[in-house]
């Protein structure tokens, strides 16, 4: 297991980005950049990369030690079911299913555990004051 991510959130509403990507043309990267610009503490999650956009990367959700308010998803819907238990242990208040990540079974499982699930685009939500 990789080393835990130890930096604590400096503000309320820390955001974890699952499926983080260093490519600036990818929506997950755009989201990380915009979240940073707007002052949100951001934890990119990627299994191999140590750093994205100057942020320390968590190799998996379980490596994040501090509370995460919002988990935003940028991994394909079919890859999500094995991650449900990890998400439930993480207990974010909200999970955003960006376009292409919607998985009704996962959404139902998370909602049954009291986690708010939003099917929407993080970028649109940020840019229009709905985040």
């Amino acid at each position: 297991m990789s080393a835990p991510i130890s930096h604590a959130p400096e503000r309320f509403r820390a955001v974890a980005v699952l499926g983080a990507n260093p490519n600036p043309e990818r929506y997950s990267n755009m989201a990380i950049v915009l979240l940073k610009e707007m002052g949100f503490p951001v934890v990119p999650v990627h299994p191999a990369l140590p750093e994205i956009e100057g942020l320390t990367v968590a190799k998996r959700l379980g490596d994040i030690e501090h509370d995460i308010h919002t988990l935003t998803l940028y991994v394909g819907a079919k890859h999500l079911p094995p991650l449900v238990d990890e998400i439930l242990r993480m207990r974010p208040q909200r999970v955003i299913f960006n376009p292409g990540t919607e998985n009704t079974g996962v959404i139902e499982a998370l909602r049954q555990s009291g986690i708010e699930c939003v099917e929407g685009c993080t970028l649109v939500m940020l840019k229009t004051g709905q985040f």
């Binding site: 755009m30 099917e119 685009c121 649109v124 939500m125 229009t128």
Partner: protein, 117 residues
């Protein structure tokens, strides 16, 4: 060829969409220049609008320029289309679609005469 009368960028939402929809159905396309699917879907909407024979109008709303309107309608994903008639939304869809599906969607939701041959 696009008809500038039935394909316009929204500057004044109240006038160009809500008020106008009392005269003719208005299909509002909520899009953004950074959104790949939006950029692909836009020209199809414009093509179909140009062929609509004045039965409805297309209004293109850049979500970057009108965040308050996007929030007002609770739009959290784009491209999104909303069909306005008599000042109200009568149908809506999120995500791009192909031409056939778009024509079927319009035929199912436009008030009045059907548009499919």
């Amino acid at each position: 060829m696009n008809n500038p009368i039935n394909n316009h960028d929204v500057q004044d939402f109240e006038k160009q969409v809500l008020a106008r929809s009392h005269e003719i159905p208005v299909l509002c396309d909520f899009w953004a220049p950074w959104c790949g699917p939006c950029v692909m879907f836009g020209p199809l909407l414009e093509k179909v609008a140009a062929e609509a024979g004045g039965r409805w109008e297309l209004a293109k709303l850049d979500t970057e320029e009108h965040p308050a309107i996007v929030g007002r309608f609770g739009i959290s994903g784009i491209p999104a289309i909303k069909l306005f008639h008599m000042g109200a939304v009568i149908a809506e869809s999120i995500g791009a679609m192909g031409e056939r599906d778009l024509r079927v969607w319009l035929d199912a939701n436009l008030p009045g005469d059907k548009i499919l041959p």
